[in-house]
Amino acid sequence: MSAGHAAWRRVLGGTLLALLVLVFARPLGAGLHAAVALAGASGLAGGALLPPRALRRLAFLVPSLALLVLLTCLLMYVAPGSPFASERVAAPQVEQALRAQYGVPRSGVAFFAVYMERLVVEGSLGPSLKVQGRSVAQLLLPALPVSLALGGLALVLALGVGVLVGVRAGLRPGSLADRASLALTLVGIALPSFVVGALLAIVFALRLGWLPVAGWGGARHLVLPAITLSLPPAATIARLARGGTIETLAQDFVRTARAKGLPERVVVWRHALRGALLPVVSYLGPAAAAILTGSFVVETLFGVPGMGQWFVKGAVNRDYSVVLGTTLLYASLVTLLNLAVDAAYAWLDPRVAEDA
């Protein structure tokens, strides 16, 4: 019993450790692999590059991804239906054979074990249970850059517009820029992004014909979805940046900078901006989550062939491995971004880095 227990723990531990690297190393190519390796290396270097908060989160990363996979497995098994129940009213023997062939046991925990083993040993996300002869990696690989481009652009847009509008508003409360930030905030708060997106599509695609209504194919296809997706987080960022700017400008050290005779530009950019943007940096994690949520809606609205469609199809068709694959990718992306945010925060605020 105890020997079996220890072995099980060894397997699990090894599984979890290897999981992350393999997930990224195999299907996603060099970029993310390098990012993970870098994060891992600096973690091993003992916090020279990453602050303790980020290190702790890194230590969380692998187990929490595994936990998420387990949770998802259990959820899918609790939900009614199965990948093999629907169309072919198959004999029990046939279903048995299919389950064995695809590696889909009858219990959620067993499926978790099969899935993790395959992930670690083969570095594979497994075959799709519904799309004949395709692996999950083959399905998701073309969709990933689409979702990454859309989400990344939306995040950059939200950050750029939000910070610009918010800081300008905070520098001059009551000014035109302040009213613009208020308008942005109101739209972000009061209108679901799909309404804004639909209106944008009507005006810029259908009326003016400047941009394509939907679909995928080039930079032009990216514009409307990215703007739509960026609006809600941009509104929050503008609000945070405005508040941060007003608060920081009232600080004594800003008065000190002015008393030194530095030009206002230097006072704002060098002395005030860092403090003003700290709340924005802390919000980047939630912003990524918001963009992820919004991407389901926006991908649907604009017919963007991203990962969202596979997630939805996978869940509806009970294509377990497709669901797990998208879940893992999404969660890894958000977690890695959170990690980067922690590092950025410590870089911006030396007190965080040096205190802990």
């Binding site: 050290f253 000190t256 900078a257 008393a259 030194k260 002395h271 403090g275 605020d349 007190r351």
Partner: protein
């Protein structure tokens, strides 16, 4: 002492703040002069206008809504009231520098000491980064921060309170200003540190011929360092004169009350400390045509309520804004 010889000549300075509730007058008709190597103390309760006056010397007015409502500030012959922001910025940090009350809040937590000490000389004197850092290191060592070279690379939160205030002083002196405005420089520090910082200011003044405007609510601190005092009440100068004379024989009931509120270690008897009853009038209260101190004054008489007394000289180098006989004030 005439206006021409003085480093700083303030005439009839008034500052207004345009707020939602109307215009406030934190400073009204303040005049004084300051020569190189001299220290002037600005004394009064909080809200009396001493900090606003001090910051006005740097062309810094309360935000938002502060403005010069009249008068003149001439620093080394240059007029500051009405000067453009660019001209003011050229003087700030260069000819007139400031040290503030709370060094923990007044240093930028996000920049290293070196960055903060070097930026003034780089901006005003055109020094290279390396030169400015070398100067910063020398200055830090001069103000008594141990291991100055290493300190340049840390952020302010890694320093103690006393070290932070020393660093603030070094920063203020970085461009060799002629005038140092010290706004409650010791208030946030404990007593031993207070003495050290005052000693440092005294030494620097002697060594550099620095003129110092020391703002404090603490007569004890002012007595240590200042040649002359200016006592402010509700935005008005109520008494001025050489420090020892004022401390020995206050000529305005307000000054006398402040002195009675001061604990003394030496002296024949230690009388009960007296708190001054009442509060200073709010800035937004319309200026009554009466002595502003009258509501709290033990010596109040009819004349006090009929019109605000003028600031009149009554002895060599001394002036006061009071109609009660000098002998009655104690």
């Amino acid at each position: 002492m005439t206006g021409d010889g003085a480093l700083l000549a303030v005439r009839d300075l008034s500052v207004g703040i345009d707020g939602p509730g109307g215009v406030l007058r934190p400073v009204e008709g303040v005049s004084f002069e300051l020569c190189a190597g001299e220290t002037l103390g600005l004394v009064g309760e909080s809200g009396c206008g001493k900090t606003v006056t001090a910051l006005a010397l740097l062309g810094l007015l309360p935000r938002p809504g502060g403005f010069f409502a009249g008068g003149s500030i001439r620093l080394e012959g240059r007029e500051l009231v009405g000067a453009g922001e660019a001209e003011l910025a050229r003087l700030r940090g260069r000819r007139v520098a400031a040290v503030f009350q709370d060094p923990s809040a007044s240093l930028n937590p996000y920049l290293t000491l070196g960055e903060q000490l070097a930026e003034g000389p780089m901006h005003h004197l055109g020094l290279s980064r390396r030169e400015a850092l070398a100067r910063a290191e020398a200055l830090l060592a001069r103000v008594g921060v141990a291991d100055a070279g290493a300190r340049l690379r840390v952020h302010p939160h890694a320093l103690s309170g006393g070290q932070r205030q020393r660093a603030m002083i070094a920063m203020a002196l970085a461009c060799e200003p002629a005038l140092l405005v010290a706004d409650e420089p010791t208030t946030a520090l404990d007593v031993t540190l207070q003495a050290q910082i005052l000693e440092l200011l005294r030494a620097l003044r002697a060594e550099r011929g620095l003129a110092v405007l020391l703002v404090s609510h603490d007569l004890g601190v002012v007595a240590e360092l200042c040649d002359r005092l200016l006592v402010l009440y509700a935005g008005r100068v109520v008494e001025s004169g050489p420090t020892p004379e004022i401390l020995a024989r206050p000529a305005h009931p307000y000054t006398a009350a402040l002195l009675r509120a001061l604990p003394r270690l030496e002296g024949p008897t230690a009388p009960r400390l007296e708190a001054l009853p009442g509060l200073p009038p709010g800035l937004d209260a319309p200026a009554p045509d009466a002595c502003r101190f009258a509501p709290r004054c033990a010596l109040v008489r009819d004349a006090c309520l009929r019109g605000e007394p003028p600031l009149v000289p009554f002895a060599p180098r001394r002036a006061r804004r009071c109609v009660a006989p000098v002998e009655e004030v104690r």
